[in-house]
Symmetry: C2
Subunit: 400 residues, 2 copies
């Protein structure tokens, strides 16, 4: 578990005495049947890392069928042999399982181009709470026969069943971070600024085309236009894959770099693109008002409790990662911060979890992003599919 996924994760420990590593859907089903009949809660962790085979790749349609325990980066690597690529990419790609990506409805940096997993996932194999295996591993692009039940499991965080197999549409990549994110990253990691000087905001754009000269002409045209009208001050274009990787490394190291200067409250918010800058400034005002932060001081030497407030994310789809670096996590500050942020987001009709799910920490805050009726409907679905409540208990839905 990563410290940075959430403010209070630092205090979380698993209590399971048993971790099982099934090698097949049938074994997973047998485990669920057993634990269901025993009505034991919180005792079994099922790790699917041994279910990591790719079963088929259809080069015509791009449909790939694989086990849920496959690691995202391994899939992308394998697909590159077929000139294909995954519809999602994220910082944790070297360790995250595709099944976990689906269960948490992961977003990531290709979202703006390929859209959500609700569109990309073609089928799932799921072990239901009663041990039944729902084999829905369709490779069809289109299917309008009945309710699209697989959609329920995308983002359900395992509370309705265990995703063991995945059919996903693959394909043949924009980003934002502010001055402080960049400054912290360069200092924390002792990296060199690829631009001549520091600027207030940085945008990462990755394009993909079929014709190098055309692509170059278009991007250079855009640069010139944006520079002429004053939208951008400076820019750099990667000249090869190596340079591209170096630039991306900066973006992917932001959170790691934050850890050099304290403990970080890392929030994953969805809000209108026009409010992405506003919320960062409003939070700074709020924290200064509390006397715990001073924006004129450097995060390297500030004696205040809050060292710095930074924002970065996916500007194209309104997904802001908002970070507060503090000396040390404190429950009272957590409460204050959450109240401010969640109310702020509720007023904007935003979401308190854009791409990392609800998990154990946010169920009681679900009402900030979802209506009473929606939560009731979720509860009806949860109770009807998992009447014994054995699937990933205490997650997602508020305890009644």
């Amino acid at each position: 578990m990563e410290k940075f996924n959430s403010p209070t994760l630092a205090t979380m420990r698993g209590k399971a005495e048993v971790v099982l590593f099934p090698t097949s859907t049938e074994q997973t089903s047998a485990i669920v049947k057993y634990s269901g009949s025993m009505a034991v809660y919180d005792e079994i962790v099922i790790n699917l890392s041994k279910m990591n085979k790719i079963h088929s790749i259809d080069q015509d349609s791009g449909a790939m069928v694989c086990d849920a325990g496959c690691i995202l980066q391994d899939l992308d690597l394998h697909l590159s042999d077929y000139d294909l690529t995954m519809p999602l990419d994220l910082g944790a790609k070297g360790s995250c399982h595709i099944g976990g990506n689906i269960s948490t409805n992961a977003g990531g940096i290709r979202y703006i181009k390929y859209g959500s997993l609700h569109g990309s996932v073609l089928g799932l194999k799921v072990v239901l709470p009663n041990g039944q295996i729902l084999d829905n591993l369709s490779t069809l692009r289109k299917d309008s026969t009945g309710y699209d039940v697989k959609q329920l499991f995308i983002g359900a965080e395992g509370t309705l069943g265990i995703v063991t197999g995945v059919s996903i549409l693959t394909h043949k990549k924009a980003k934002y971070c502010d001055l402080l994110s960049m400054d912290i990253t360069l200092n924390g990691l002792e990296k060199t600024n690829p631009l001549a000087k520091m600027h207030n905001y940085y945008v990462f754009i990755e394009t993909q085309g079929s014709h190098k000269e055309h692509d170059l002409e278009k991007i250079m045209g855009m640069f010139e236009e944006l520079q002429e009208d004053g939208t951008i001050e400076d820019g750099i274009m990667a000249e090869d894959i190596t340079q591209m990787a170096k630039i991306w490394e900066l973006r992917e190291s932001i959170i790691t770099a934050h850890s050099k200067y304290g403990e970080t409250y890392a929030m994953d918010l969805s809000l209108p693109t026009s409010k992405v800058e506003t919320i960062v400034n409003d939070l700074k005002d709020f924290l200064e008002g509390l006397g715990v932060y001073d924006r004129t001081l450097s995060y390297k030497s500030s004696p205040k409790y809050v060292k710095e407030v930074t924002g970065f994310g996916h500007i194209g789809d309104g997904n802001l990662h908002l970070n507060v670096i503090v000396e040390k996590y404190q429950d009272s500050f957590t409460t204050t911060l959450e109240k401010f942020i969640f109310e702020y987001i509720q007023n904007l009709k935003g979401s308190i979890s854009a791409e990392h799910g609800i998990g154990l920490l946010k169920p009681d805050f679900l009402h900030y992003s979802k209506s009473k009726e929606a939560i009731e409907l979720m509860t009806i679905i949860k109770n009807s599919i998992d009447p014994k409540g054995i699937m990933n208990p205490y997650k997602v839905l508020p305890s009644s």
Copy 2:
């Protein structure tokens, strides 16, 4: 109701004595509450054509919020003022409601570019069977808080609730039809072939780019390559919007033209792209084996019961519209044809409804495309959300 949606629709008549035209979600809710408490079935048709307002268009994100009764073509026309376009387009655009598109999980000709409605729909407002209003009209691109309950209503054909409001992601179009489809269309509509002579297969490709010269260069390059390697025999490129509309008209008139030569069994199938040609030929073999068809005779003068078998559709996403023109619909032939097609599709793990839903006609055939477990899960969801069974009864799920 259109004759061509299905073989047996010609014999279908509605029996409702009351058609209501609510002008708001609240009125719709009041109707549902009333009919729920009365437990009257099959008596009320709710027509949302008076709920046809666009509420907001966000030019930054492309999110549009509108009433479910808006007509697809009107939405596209209105969006064009903002340089935006709908993520779906289909032949019925001049009359179909966006709410109906969503309830039937409509596909259409932009699917290959923009993907499924499960990815494009950002939020829905739904009147639930108990009259509750689920207001889920989010305009967020990303939201991972809990089950994505709106997904259940996409393609549920009204059996779980009535979609009254829609939030959808708009954006700033490939097709296939065989010789006989083209021949029937040209003859039936007395149109001129845009190419010098007839060919076995026709592909319609619509591209969209930001740079006219680049786009032209690429498409001409593709033409040359495909002609050199013998993939294509001839081609024509629309020189302006008028000519483009004329070419598209041919594609969109195929079904209308079929009606000049008899009654048409029109099937909407999803199958691997590599099998699209095979199934047409296998069906011809099957019908010739039965003695009801002779492929050497012209559909204009054949004395056989089956005049012609044609295939057209969306080759890019494996969606084939397979058509059998007969003298007159016959129940015994319907049974024979359905058995052949549904078993064929089941063997290929295809779907018997790619983009037109299940409706009243196909519930008993659902098992050809969905597993026992999936149908059980759909039934659990249906029963838990609509315990009285008042929403669009007898549709989608097989009667138990």
